[in-house]
Subunit: 408 residues, 2 copies
């Protein structure tokens, strides 16, 4: 028999407890070992649950119980999760977590401790909820050099953008609806400002390229500035706007990562990822593009990924899974890159005649543009060039406002 | 150092050899062991290759060399691959294969031998080429009860259907183009008759539900009867036609599997899987729908999946991976199911007035239909009902032709 502890009994934690307790036979059969939830750590009381006797409030009970071999950390946040996980690993227990904030901030350090103690530290649920992505990335794509990862990593923002695109709903109304449906939190900042997606792309980048990428090294922009006019203008050119997290290996060997609203062609399968779904597109030098798609959040999906990690730990109590990366070295991440590529521009000026004249003068050879006199606006897809070049050109339009968006 | 042998130097085999030899450092680093290709078995001569000294023509050299621990079988076909693989497993060597025909026909038996000999028999490349799907199915979805798998498992037919849908090209021309591009073989029967997809859904069904499903237990229909008129009619209702392989667990505990041209709603992300790409949608009771997408064939993609399996064998020389199923029991697969659901019907009669009258009489309450007097035809989506019921109704239309297609 293997004893397991769960730290946290919130949305994900209660899901983990329910799966482990309700499906104990199915799980024990699959891991060829009896799995027993011995403790659930939570400061709150749950007297009416059938398994209420398992609740404890003191972390040290888990830490000091040598019969507990695997612990699920599903509390969220860096503190006190970090101290708890570190102590558990140092005590020789395997830990699984769904906590992307913790892994993005402290992954390299915790992995190192796990390696030293010959235990496992798994976190499949931290990216893409129930979508298997970290393990396939490491194992099945093992023979590949991964060159780029692009994804829709946050279901809340995808839901909001989708409502704007399909139902012509404005940002505020879509956010409100997402909150009513439980897809967005009361304080939605972590989602709509892009921080949640940022943490996830850090984890993917670290696994794919081998060194830790920290959230503050990722150019992160949320969706709060996206308007229905942007959505409509993008549509004119056959694009939808998605919050895309991206990381790639540059020719100079450095890594770069970003999270930002991005135009995705309707021809690209990622454009069809709707609602709260997530998708991760991995480009390998041998496999080409491979995509993983599914519900990125939700109690059952995330909990089932945590349970799968617990099961994997139980099957490998004496051996380590190859899921690791090193700490980031100085200059490893390129943070101020002048990107080269096509860009989407909306240019609005008080004087439309003057805008037309100037546009002809500066962007005369642009093939793809739409004039909208009613809005005093010209939208266009600028030919591939450095972002700095384009900005220089745009700065020549006086008394005008410009908005640029990258294109996937 | 670990010695590896490759049996077969065709498209996939040469890819495997090239990856193992050209990227030996990258691979040895990842598996923490030196990987050496000792033999390549092929009846042909390749005198101009840089690694021509590795070629042998006698299988027994591999079988009898105790230093060879892992063998890749990339010859294809059931014979002599079956005899070779069986002998190798019995001799205590791990085997990886991309040979779906072999796994679909003999998987249960070979897995059993591998278990008895405590070696690995891996076949990730047999389904979905370079897309990681078998391993995630087993490992990451471990905490799930899988209820259904639907997928586009054959790139050739998807390419042909796509050409018909997007470019209005007829079947014969699209097939010819696919052959010119190397996407279809000279003898395309295995692809266009659905046999290739059938073998793959057998493997997926076995892994997901635990018992072998044999190709002859799968209702298999290819795409040779699909016409541009079908494609256009489906489009009218917002659907595209895809060759969908499906397997599901029925309420009576039995398994059912099919391969057939199927209508897929444009709202479904699977409808966006174009060209030679494959996609597998797995429904789990906890995760909901999870999709894996990528190139299902091609030298590099398939070879890289074979190499990933080789690497996994090397990392687990002394332990077995949990990738197994039992032999199928009597009555395990339901082969003659009267399916309940919506169906798409094209009904063509000589006498259009009579067709209209009769349609009103029998399908009067059908909400979704399109009349086409020019073609003497009525197309409609029949309300959910048993297929046998629908066929009884359709048989009442005298001097008429009817064509029915299932809907995903």
């Amino acid at each position: 028999m293997v004893n397991v502890a769960i730290m946290g009994h919130g949305v994900v934690g209660s899901g983990v407890a329910e799966i482990l307790i309700n499906y104990d036979k199915r799980i024990s059969e699959k891991v060829k070992n009896d799995v027993n939830v011995k403790y659930i750590l939570d400061l709150r009381d749950f007297p009416n649950l059938s398994y209420s006797e398992k609740f404890i409030k003191d972390f040290n009970i888990i830490l000091e119980d040598e019969s507990v071999k695997v612990v699920a950390e599903v509390m969220g946040g860096v503190n006190p999760a970090y101290d708890f996980v570190k102590s558990l690993l140092l005590a020789g227990k395997s830990v699984v977590t769904s906590n992307k904030e913790l892994v993005a901030a402290k992954g390299a350090e915790l992995i190192k401790i796990a390696e030293e103690k010959n235990v496992n530290f798994l976190f499949e649920a931290s990216v893409g909820g129930g979508i298997p992505i970290l393990r396939p990335l490491v194992q099945c794509l093992a023979a590949n050099e991964i060159t780029e990862i692009s994804g829709i990593l946050n279901g809340t923002t995808n839901y909001i953008l989708n409502k704007m695109i399909v139902d012509n709903m404005d940002f505020d109304s879509a956010l409100k609806l997402a909150q009513e449906k439980g897809y967005a939190e009361k304080n939605p900042a972590a989602d709509i400002e892009g921080h949640d997606a940022c943490r996830k792309i850090c984890i993917l980048a670290a696994l794919a390229f081998g060194k830790h990428v920290y959230p503050e090294q990722v150019k992160t922009e949320g969706i709060t500035n996206i308007t229905l006019d942007d959505v409509a203008a993008a549509d004119t050119f056959g694009y939808v706007i998605k919050l895309i997290a991206n990381t790639q290996k540059l020719n100079n060997g450095k890594i770069t990562a970003s999270v930002r609203p991005t135009l995705v062609s309707r021809e690209n399968i990622i454009s069809g990822v709707n609602g709260v779904f997530n998708a991760v597109m991995v480009t390998g030098d041998q496999t080409g593009e491979v995509m993983f798609y599914g519900k990125g959040a939700g109690k059952e999906a995330t909990a089932s990924a945590v349970v799968a990690d617990i099961m994997d730990c139980i099957k490998h109590l004496d051996s380590r899974k190859y899921l690791s990366w090193a700490d980031g070295s100085e200059g490893y991440v390129e943070t101020n890159r002048d990107e080269y590529g096509k860009l989407f521009v909306r240019l609005t000026c008080e004087n439309f005649a003057e805008l037309e004249r100037k546009f002809g003068e500066i962007f005369g050879d642009t093939a793809n543009f739409v004039k909208n006199q009613y809005r005093n606006e010209i939208c266009f897809i600028a030919e591939p060039q450095y972002e700095s070049e384009l900005n220089k050109k745009l700065s020549q339009f006086e008394n005008c406002e410009s908005k640029t968006l990258h294109i996937l």
